[in-house]
Point group: C2
Chain length 270, copies 2
């Protein structure tokens, strides 16, 4: 099953939540902190309690790389613990000259065996091509991010009348020859989402920014419903994995994803 | 000595070459390949033969990360082998939400103890702030890169009449409150360099793209000479470290950097 099929299967099953495993030792429940391998144990418990209900997992590589060798080992073990029918997204925002991108692509898709990756398009097509060459993977390219800094460049208007993020999406559609491209579109940009959703055409969309960052789940789901289109993932990290800081953290994570799924269902079936 | 001082000292000593330690096992001389720790041995030999003559070393993190734990160990050992008066640049092109950038900043500046880093500004100010908060370090922000893909977005014209890369430079000047920002400007863009060099003001400039990528050393040095300005680094990777594939690789690397220094001197003192 290739990456796009994994996504489509889950979406057809009305699963749209991507659980962000941005696991930070400092934020772990006390009883886990004192265990032998706290971050890995935490991740496994979260995966056990949420894998039936989510569409994908997103692993922020920074949270693991910062611990050097030990962190990379945990990253690899977490990835191999995720059931094989669930999309695994490496959130690394790569984008470098071809030479270097080739190495990152090999690392993320072959060594870490991820299904998908986030990419930064600033340096243009040749910086992304090594990733796009993997036709069975998915490449979520940053178009409009969820942070405040999106105003600095992404929302600038070009002399052709388009915003930079629209120009990026235009290019992503051109580059999508292997049908393995998607975009990242921050859920904090509700208005822009509504205005541009037809313009995305069939590109899968990864939407961070719900919860802690202030994006509205309802706005996002309604926008996709209006155009009768699935193929999207709503990422929630802290809002799920740190829902409780007690011994019941995994149970509370499950309750939260069930609550979110329920909310999405209601909107879709209104 | 902070990062900027290291750069200024070397530039005052007429040293402008940054040696790119993008070391690839496959490209190592045969006799090194069969040694106990080939990449580390190669790096040490290159450092021994070039450290007197270069201004900086740039380590492309991808070349080390791809080998997992082993690669990160070699990266750390290479960095600690570099004499402390020479600027060490982590070429990683980071740029993520503040949360994540904070981790990368801590990793690159505290764990790896690098003096400088390359950053991708697409996501805007808040994605770079955690790096900019380290006032004794240097942050080289991608403005106009050396690859063909620079045409896709960086060279697009905005509705204010500026090119995107010019808008980035404008913002970098605004963000430079700690006097710890610089820019990356590809040496392959000789015309743009000439036209924009006054606009850089005092920002240090890291210029990749000489040699294999087709940038002209002469054009670059002349541009800086015309405005009577130092504070720049010309990166050369393959052209130095793989100058010879034989047992004399370190000697040939030294000869090549001496040749480049000589060429630069000639242009500056014409």
């Amino acid at each position: 099953m290739n990456a796009l099929e994994k996504l489509v299967n889950k979406n057809n099953d009305d699963k749209f939540i991507c659980v962000g495993l941005d696991t930070d030792f400092d934020k772990l429940p006390l009883h886990i902190k004192s265990s032998a391998n706290p971050v890995l144990n935490f991740n496994k418990a979260i995966i056990d309690s949420t894998s039936e209900y989510c569409a994908a997992y997103k692993l922020n590589f920074a949270f693991y790389e910062k611990d050097g060798e030990e962190g990379l080992k945990i990253l690899l073990e977490t990835i191999s613990y995720i059931p094989s029918n669930i999309l695994i997204i490496a959130d690394a925002k790569y984008g470098d000259i071809g030479n270097t991108s080739r190495m990152y692509a090999k690392s993320v898709f072959e060594h870490y065996n991820c299904d998908a990756v986030t990419l930064n398009p600033l340096m243009g097509k040749d910086s992304l091509e090594p990733f796009l060459d993997y036709s069975d993977k998915l490449n979520f390219i940053l178009a409009l991010t969820s942070n405040k800094g999106a105003n600095d460049f992404e929302k600038l208007k070009l002399d052709n009348g388009k915003f930079l993020y629209q120009q990026i999406i235009e290019k992503v559609k051109e580059w999508n020859l292997n049908n393995n491209c998607g975009i990242v579109f921050g859920a904090t940009n509700g208005e822009e989402l509504k205005e541009n959703i037809n313009f995305f055409e069939t590109l899968p969309v990864l939407l961070p920014g719900i919860g802690a960052q202030g994006g509205s789940l309802e706005d996002v789901v309604k926008s996709f419903k209006t155009v009768n289109r699935k193929s999207f993932l709503i990422n929630v990290s802290r809002g799920i994995i740190y829902k409780s800081s007690g011994e019941d953290f995994a149970e509370k994570a499950r309750e939260e994803i069930l609550r979110l799924n329920n909310e999405i269902d209601k909107i879709l079936n209104l």
